[in-house]
Each structure stands twice: as C-alpha cells, then as structure tokens.
C-alpha cells in the first residue's frame, strides 16, 4: 500500500471501518494505525514509503509502537514524543533484541528451549540466523526457498517486544525496487531510512550495537553456534554414505510456521479443501512472533488420513456363502462412486434416446468403458476375498448340491473350471450388483429401467466376458 501523508488519516478511518461511506472515528482510526503500522501482520502488505516521506512516517511508526493507547492523530504525529522514546533506548538492549531475532526458532519445537540459561545462550542462541551461502533444494519446501509475509521472529522476553517490533518493522522503499525490508536491514546498509532514524534521535552507539549483532548473524551464520541444548533438543543420526553419520537437529523456520497456515486459509476461503491438523505448541505467544493479531502458538500442518482396507465383512460373507444362499457380489462396493454415477447418467441418455437426444458410437464406447471399470472393482473385491479365504482353515467343508454352492466354489476357490451355466450365473450376479448400485445412487432409475434390454444386455455381455476371462477354463 502506498503511503501518502496527505491522505493517511482518511485512509486509516476508512480501513478501520471497512466502509468508504462510513469512516471510523479518529480514536478508532488511530488505534487501527497502531495495529497496522508495524506492518507485521501477514494479511497486510507493508507500507511503501518514498524517501521524502520517511521523516513524517517514522514518528508515526515509533509512536505507534512505543505509545500506550494512542487515541488521536496528533499523538501519533508527535515528533518530540518519538524522539524521547528513541533516545531512551539502552545499548545492550538493542544487541539482545537483535540476537534473539531469527529465521529459525528452536523454541517452536519445544518451548522449554526458550528457557535456556543465559550463560548457555551465548553458545546456543534461542533464534537462529540464516547464512547467505546456504544451499537450498528446489524440490522441497523449506524456510530457505519460501517467500513469506513473516520471515523472522523474535524469541526473547516479552518486555523487549517493542524494540523488536521497531527493528523488525517492514517498509518498502517506493523510490527503488519496492521490496519490503526490515528497519534493521536499512540500518545495516546505511540507507536513507536508517539515516532518518538516527536523525529522529536513535543513538549512534545503539545503532552500532544492533548492526554488529545483525552482521554476526548474517555473516558468521550458524557456524558461529558452538553448542545445542542437548537435554531438550533432538539430535538424529543420519548415515553419511561413507560408513559414518551426521547428527541432525531439526528446527522449524518462521517462514513455514506462518506461511503454511496462511496459504491453507487462503485456499479454504476460496472454496478449496486442504485437510489440516492444528496443535498448540506453547501458551507463550511471544515465542511465536511479533505480529500484532497473529494467532500464535498453533502449529498447522497438512494432515494425512489413513483408511484401512476393510475386511470386517469378509467373515460374514464367508459364512453366508457357506450357507449357500447369498450371491458374492455386493452393490455396496460400487455404491456412491463416481464411476457408478457416470454410468447411470450414460444409461439414462441411452434410455431417453428414442424421445430426445441420440446414441452414437462414442456414447456406447463410454458406457462399455465404465462398465469395464466397475467390473474391475468387483473382481478386485473378489480377489481380496480370495486372499482372505486362502488363509482360513477349511473355508468350505461340505460340497453343496445347490447352484449357489457351486457358484461360491467357482468364485471363491477360483477353480477355473466353471461350466457355461455357472459363468452365466456369475455374470448375472455381477450385472445385478452394478445395476443395483446405480438404482441406489439415482432413485429415478427404476427396476423397469434396469430390466430394459438396452441397459441390461450390454452390462450382462461385458460381465459374461469378464467372468469367462477370470473364471473360465
């Protein structure tokens, strides 16, 4: 969003109310600015500010962060108040804050890591930086290759949040590339924004301390880290391919921690569906991020669900077959599937062809293809059942005399010597299962429709061919 000093009051009033015809009051608009100016919320693009406007923008930013409950635009624009707030910053505070700001935070994984003793912290920082020369994969998502609205986070004390917010505030330089960068990066690069901050009253030594700490993080990177908190962090052994190992400690990145839930939310709002799992990691929101209004402490992930192959009905089906009364093929294997619905629609077209519409070779070929797929499903079900039966002790003890007993044997024991009559019986059962599944899916598909020769004949013929192939001599 382009920042315009002449219009920002009106823009804030409109943004706070959400209605251009009914702008919010000054108090509400100022409170809204206090929330959005630090530009850390993932929903908001950060302000693009020209170098000429920065002298006006910075006091707003500083007052929004350091002022308590700002109620008016005058209080936000008060340059003296901003100068006073900046001049009061101690040096070691600045260093501590930058050191605790990083791209990877072990405390996400285990909140106890944030309780690392201060003497240990020198060896194992509670937030990890990012080295410029680190190689990154192009195939797998990680914090190294994901552009996120929030990339870094502050994992230090809640009391230090304000200064961390100031240093981490992202502003885009509208005069150059327009890419948002944090204030600490502008300070480090001797940029016009950094100089303006010094002119507003930031002490030179505070700036030096912050920039030095930032440089150490950027240049020395993780190689400067000499220890991990072994009591609380994982170290996984991975074979290195030469008979030895690496020890690997996984730490999540701020980018994925904030970006994954954001993108899932965007997709869900667009009517799409992503299965997710949400877990609380810690009650401490300051461990998660600086961003005002970000729901912290919740780890959102893509969730995989497992559906087991259900054989619970097999024992019952076996018992039924032993009694010699049941057909093997069941409509519920096909019921409520896409293939069944599409075959139903095609058969309806064929039935209506004499009144309206027509039937051509394409429609007939489509019909046969669908029937074939449904028959494949039935045969798959049969084969799975055969596997089940093969490991049952004496599945069929007596040789039955009825047709159904023969059928069960043909099917289940895959005798491969079925007589033509038995093959016809199997094909009838398969056709009945398919047509019954269509009837269940579509109540307008009547029994009479299912018996219609234009419907029944092709289904039966296909089933007969499959039965012959699978069970014939």
């Amino acid at each position: 969003m382009q920042f315009d000093p002449d219009r920002y009051r009106r823009d804030a009033a409109i943004a706070a109310s959400g209605d251009p015809n009914k702008p919010a009051t000054e108090r509400q608009a100022a409170a809204h600015l206090q929330d959005t100016l630090p530009a850390l919320r993932p929903q908001e693009p950060p302000y693009a500010v020209t170098q000429g406007q920065i002298a006006f923008f910075l006091p707003l930013l500083v007052n929004a962060i350091f002022g308590n409950k700002v109620g008016s635009f005058e209080a936000l624009e008060d340059e003296a108040a901003a100068r006073e707030a900046l001049a009061a910053l101690p040096v070691d505070w600045a260093r501590r804050v930058v050191e605790a700001t990083g791209y990877f935070a072990p405390s996400f994984a285990d909140p106890k890591v944030s309780r690392v003793k201060s003497s240990k912290r020198i060896e194992m920082p509670i937030a990890l930086g990012r080295e410029a020369g680190t190689p990154a994969s192009h195939r797998f998502a990680s914090g190294l290759n994901t552009a996120a609205a929030i990339e870094s986070s502050f994992a230090g004390n809640a009391a230090d949040n304000r200064l961390a917010k100031l240093f981490s505030s992202r502003i885009a330089d509208a005069d150059t590339d327009g890419q948002p960068r944090t204030l600490i990066e502008y300070l480090h690069d001797e940029h016009a924004f950094g100089r303006a901050l010094l002119e507003l009253g930031l002490d030179e030594t505070v700036k030096q301390a912050a920039v030095e700490a930032f440089e150490t993080q950027q240049q020395a990177g993780l190689s400067a880290v000499t220890a991990i908190d072994g009591n609380r962090m994982k170290a996984v052994f991975v074979p290195d391919g030469h008979g030895g190992y690496w020890q690997v400690s996984p730490v999540p990145s701020v980018a994925l921690y904030t970006e994954l839930p954001r993108r899932i939310r965007q997709r869900r709002q667009a009517g799409q569906w992503v299965r997710r799992s949400q877990r609380l990691t810690s009650a401490k929101t300051q461990n998660v991020g600086l961003q005002a209004n970000y729901q912290g402490g919740r780890l959102t992930r893509i969730h995989a669900s497992y559906r087991r192959i259900d054989t619970s009905a097999y024992q019952r089906r076996l018992a039924a077959l032993r009694q010699g009364a049941a057909t093997f093929f069941q409509a519920n294997v096909l019921h409520d599937t896409e293939e069944t619905a599409r075959l139903g629609a095609l058969l309806r077209t064929i039935l209506n062809a004499s009144e309206e519409g027509y039937v051509n070779a394409d429609i007939r070929a489509g019909r046969d293809r669908r029937i074939q797929r449904l028959l494949d499903t039935l045969i798959e079900d049969l084969e799975a059942f055969q596997d089940f039966v093969a490991w049952q002790p004496t599945p069929f003890e007596t040789e039955g005399e009825t047709r159904r007993d023969h059928l069960a044997e043909v099917l289940v024991l895959a005798r491969r010597r079925a007589s033509p009559d038995e093959l016809d019986a199997v094909a009838e059962d398969m056709a009945a299962a398919i047509l019954s599944a269509i009837q269940r899916d579509d109540p307008s598909f009547t029994q009479a429709d299912a018996r219609d020769d234009r419907v029944y004949r092709p289904v039966f013929e296909e089933a007969r061919a499959v039965a012959k192939e699978e069970l014939g001599v």
């Binding site: 106890k112 195939r139 190294l144 991975v238 020890q247 993108r263 893509i302 497992y306 559906r307 192959i309």
Partner: protein, 280 residues
Amino acid sequence: MNTLVIGPFTADRVALDGNALVSGMPPVTALGGLSDTLARRLGRPAANWPVALILHDLQPHDGRPKPKPDFKGRPGEAVERVTGWIRATVVLLEPDDTLTSTELTEQTEGLRIAGGMISPERPARVVEDLGAELRRLPPGHILVDRTDVLDAAVAAAEDPLDGLLDVFTGSWDEQAQRYQNPWSRDEAGQWRYLVPVAVGHQALEPMSTASPRKGTRCPETPHLFSEGIASVAELVSARKAARAASRGWETLAMFWRWTNDPEHGVLRLQGHHLESIREA
C-alpha cells in the same frame, strides 16, 4: 540378498507428528532409524539397508499428553503431539545374506518404530518370496515414494510449498458433487491414494563445513541444524500389488533408504524398486 519381514506387529504411541509441514503418517525417517538400529544390533554401523513399510491399520490419538514436570517441579509446557496406534509390517533387504530367522527374531526384541514399542503378532523371519508373503499378510498398503508427483506439481506451481499444497488441495466439482484433485488420478484416470510424508531434512548450513557441537549425543560426529522436508507418497494395496500383472510390487519404489544430496543440503530417504537395488 536376504528379505527380512518383521510383522505384522502393533505399536502404540507411535509418533505421527512428521515435521512442521505434515502430520498423520509415521515419518519415513523412522523407517531409516529402525533399519539403522537393527543393523547396529547386528554389529554393522551405518548400514543404510533398504526398508519398506506395509500399513495395515492406523488410528491417531487426539489430545495432549500429560506434561512432564521439569527439574524444579513446575509443570512443563506441553506441546500437543499427534501419536497413534499402528498395525504394520516392515520389510528389510539385508545385502550380506547371512542372517537366519532365529537370529533376526532375537535381535528384533524390544525394537521401536517412531517411538512406539513393537509388539509382534508373528515372529520376525527371513522369507524367500516376498510376493507370496505380501498376499499372506493382512490386507494393507505399501508406502511408495512418489517424489515424481511432487516434482511435477512443483514445476507447475510458484514455489515448492504451493506445489506440495496443490497435491493435497481438493476443489469442489459441481458435477460430481465432491472435492476433486487432478493429482489424485494417474494418466489412465485411475484414482491413487496420495499422502504427505516427512522424508528427511534440509540442512541449514553447508554440509561440507559441518563440525561437532557441544551438547550433542556424540562429541565427534559432525552436527547440522536442519529443517524437516516433506514429500508425496502413495499407498498401494499390498495384495493388489502382489497379484498385479502390471505395476507389480517389484516395480514400485517401496524400499526407502537414505540418499543424500550435499550440493543442495538435502538428507532424505528415497524410495527404490527392487531391481534398482539389485543392480546397485
């Protein structure tokens, strides 16, 4: 090459956390750990044996485990975990061809998978014909590497995270009255059961300069900070794969082993099919 079959077994409180990107499936990295543990019990360090997982059942447990009190007796902050009960079978390929079923059964006692203690329903064994064994096992799914699907999705997306999300995002299909995803169908239009899995680590520092750090489990082994990476796997019915004429189990990339790419800092388990392992 010996084919070792452990299971079917059940294991409770198995970690289904995966990593910071995915959850719900036992992580593939756990299979690497199991293969490594077994190899070390047999006195063969860093063996990297190919290992396959056949999942018969999985029931996730919801909720928060009771937090352990820390050293000062205060209740610690609890991280909510995703754990679960699984019934599964693990198949390992032992290259030396020396192990007997009895030795294997002894060595698998007290073995864990993803933190869950393995309770075998049948003794671990060395088998001759894995195809016949797959038909003999309870019905279940083989976990097959489908990084090729991820690669295709990433090539069509803006960045790797969008590519991964695309594979698992369903869009409402008005005609079919259900959520559909184009990646869930193969070239022939057949449905395939894709799941996200945690497959390894992205190193956050150059692997060439890795050195030991204090506080780690071994003072000599080089240490790396890393971030978990996720890929796509397919669950293929084991019995169907065992009896299929085409796309049979021998052709499936079901045997996972560590395959590292130091150039891009990737340490991950990659699925291989039987032939490629035999050739290697």
